[in-house]
Amino acid sequence: MLSRVVEMIYWTARYLERTENLARLINVNSNLLLDLPKSIAPGWEPLINITGTRERYLELHDDFSERTVLTYLVNQENSPSSLAKALAGARESARTIRDVIPRESWEQINALYLYAKDNASRVFIKSQRFEYLNNIILRCQTLNGLLAGTMNQDEGYSFLLIGRNLERCDMTSRIIDVRSADLLADENQTLQPFDLIQWMSVLKSLSAYQMYRRSMQVKINRSDVLKFLFQSEVFPRAPYHCISRVEFCTLDLPNNEAPLRLIGRVKRDLIETKVGKLEQEALHEYIDELQLSLIHISDAFADQYFLSGKMQSQEQSSA
């Protein structure tokens, strides 16, 4: 398969996954705010932190009001981490590989892009927000199903899964990072009932609440939530699970030594770290490390398999 094509498949998958995660995130935050007293509600600022583009945001805006944050996260194609941007990216990269992905999936991506764009104003209407975002999530899920059910399960499909799982791993770690920072800021006993709600909301941002209950069978507490979210072998959004999937898909690829070595290291690290016991500061550093490793893995794939990476190394060798 063409290097350029596997690269595009990889990015299509990442953008789709990002779209779904953004929609989840906004939905859950909306719900959380309804449950918390105004005095302690974190508001919309944490969402900007999760996307890792706080500086860019502050260049454009000087408040964190609901409307401004939502505009930034949903509508603005020029904001690096908006639904609109992710969907435009998914559509554009899918458009370049229309010949490779099943026709219906291109139609779905295109229709999803049009739906999100044409209905974006609904996100500002509280009573319509949930349905709008949920539709986006469902359509993303439909796409995943469609691809699983109709696309040749070849190298291209491996890169689809690799892209999706790396993005998911990254997003999960970001959500935990930002959410937990807010939570631990105040250990005040009176916040206990709300603390619980907030940890539930962390789980729910990842659709992990029910699965946590099923597999952990313990009360919700910080240590167990962290353990589950990072280290679960069976929960599909847990970094450990994601990275195991990436490893599995990489095993069949040719010349896979470099990416496999990096993946193996991250995987070992994920399972060996006693993540539940990490203090807030250490947890934050740990997550930073993880995100950096994910970037290295992505680069290793580019160097080995993607056209961008190959052309770059060719230029370097001829220079």
């Binding site: 290097s3 295109n110 690829l253 056209l307």
Partner: protein, 483 residues
């Protein structure tokens, strides 16, 4: 209110469906009746369903705008089909095959012995300034000696009902994907319409295209590596490139995916390393194909591609240089070309064409500029033309000077009254002018699409059918009345 054929005016032109208000051509009776049976709200529903379907499938074309950007527009499809009998179509098909066969012999001759020039059938002067003659191709013998593997010829019907060939597109003709998608959308939206007729299918084109491409592979193999070469997603026909690659199951490649190695063979960069390519259906113009030979600045093409092609290590369709025969002056000589190579009379006529390099013709043209359409030899897309009846005295004077300065570069034709087809305009039906582009594939045999892409000028009385200038399209039905 529904469609009332009695209000439909057809007197001035040939209408493809109606003989006069209220009376349809025999093969169109059932269609006219069906369309008249639809209520206004049904028409509106179908129109919206068609638009939506096209938008969601993502059938689009790219329009460049002046700010340097480009936008992706939905392909405009009118819901009223154009209908033609199989009997008539078979005659046209035979005429197209004759034409393309002769043109291929002609191109091969031009890059070979040039017998037709030596025998004085065509003056050498015709090629003196030809923009599409490629020195680099002289002496090359491509597989089967075929140069124009894909030809898109534009057909128009005049007032008297005769079908004429208006021009042949031998470089990188586009539009076939829209023909296929139009049918798909019509079948989704209007299944009922297909019940009354036996409409010949069109969807075997991609497999015929693949067979043609495979047949010119320089390496005999069961599965030659065939690729489609595109300039990329910003090209106006990108949709088509991706569509054809998908339908043929080929790789869609850009120039940067390909590399010519020291063995003068073409390879593509795959994730498993380099892989040899046998046949390239290139959708890039000659001059951008190979920066080593043509445009040095081009990044669209592949350095060394011409080297590989000349050594017959890779096949290119269409062959570089094939465009020499879609010159408008060459067009005027097609009847002679057919006679010379095939010893046959032309069966699908040319539009009457005056060749300005001939004194008598030039005299007539200069005296009748207000009645004629004057075209330069090498421009396409309607640039640099004079449309006599719509021109000012000043423009006519300018063109007279141009023609006198360079007579060999100009031809002139009478203005045609293109035929019309009923077209939905608001909630009414009105006649709109159409042309038609069938696609002809040549290798060891010649295959023609069933019908072609019908383009329609959506603006009243306009003859401009280009989609970039507000034109639309119609599904084209070739119906078998005996089936």
């Amino acid at each position: 209110m529904t469609i009332e054929w009695k209000n439909y005016r057809v007197e001035k032109y040939y209408d493809e469906l109606m003989l006069s208000g209220n009376k349809a051509r025999p093969h169109g009776k059932k269609l006219a009746k069906y369309l008249a049976s639809l209520s206004n709200s049904e028409l509106e529903t179908y129109r919206i369903a068609t638009e939506l379907s096209i938008k969601e499938i993502g059938v689009s074309f790219t329009v460049y705008n002046q700010e340097g950007g480009s936008i992706d527009r939905s392909w405009p499809l009118d819901i009223f089909p154009r209908i033609m009998t199989k009997t008539e179509w078979e005659k046209i098909e035979a005429g197209l095959k004759q034409r393309v066969q002769a043109l291929n012999l002609f191109i091969a001759d031009l890059y070979g012995e040039q017998r037709i020039l030596k025998d004085g059938i065509i003056p050498r002067a015709v090629f003196k300034n030809s923009k599409n003659f490629r020195e680099q191709c002289v002496g090359v013998k491509p597989p089967l000696n075929i140069w124009a593997h894909v030809c898109g010829s534009d057909l128009v019907r005049d007032k008297d009902g005769t079908m004429y060939v208006l021009e042949d597109n031998l470089r990188v003709p586009s539009g076939v994907s829209y023909m296929l998608e139009n049918r798909l959308v019509m079948k989704r939206v209007f299944p009922e319409m297909f019940e009354d007729y036996s409409i010949l299918p069109v969807d075997d084109y991609p497999s015929k295209l693949f067979d043609m491409l495979a047949s010119i592979s320089p390496r005999p193999a069961d599965y030659p590596e065939v690729v489609v070469l595109t300039p990329g997603i910003y090209n106006s026909a990108y949709f088509e490139h991706a569509y054809l690659a998908q339908q043929m199951g080929c790789e869609l490649v850009e120039g940067r995916d390909l590399v010519v190695c020291d063995d003068d063979c073409v390879y593509m960069r795959t994730m498993r390393g380099l892989k040899r390519v046998d046949v390239i259906y290139r959708r890039i113009d000659d001059l951008f194909l190979d920066p080593e030979v043509f445009n040095k600045e081009s990044t669209l093409g592949v350095p060394g591609l011409m080297r590989a092609w000349r050594k017959n290590n890779v096949a290119l369709a269409n062959a570089p240089g094939a465009g020499v025969a879609d010159d408008k002056v060459v067009y005027a000589f097609v009847p002679k070309i057919i006679k010379y190579y095939l010893d046959e009379e032309i069966s699908l006529p040319n539009v009457k064409t005056y060749i300005c390099m001939y004194e008598d013709d030039r005299k007539y043209v200069l005296e009748n500029l207000d009645k004629l359409v004057v075209k330069p030899a090498n421009e396409s897309g309607g640039y640099g033309m004079l449309v006599g009846p719509a021109s000012t005295k000043k423009q006519q004077k300018e063109f007279a000077a141009l023609i006198k300065a360079n007579p060999g570069n100009y031809i002139a034709q009478p203005t045609l009254n293109l035929s019309t087809v009923p077209t939905l305009v608001g909630d009414k039906v009105e006649p709109r002018h159409v042309d038609m582009r069938p696609f002809i594939l040549s290798s060891d045999r010649i295959e023609v699409t069933t019908g072609g892409l019908t383009r329609v000028a959506l603006v009243k009385n306009s003859l401009v059918v280009n989609s970039s200038q507000g034109g639309g399209s119609k599904d084209t039905w070739i119906v078998d009345e005996e089936a």
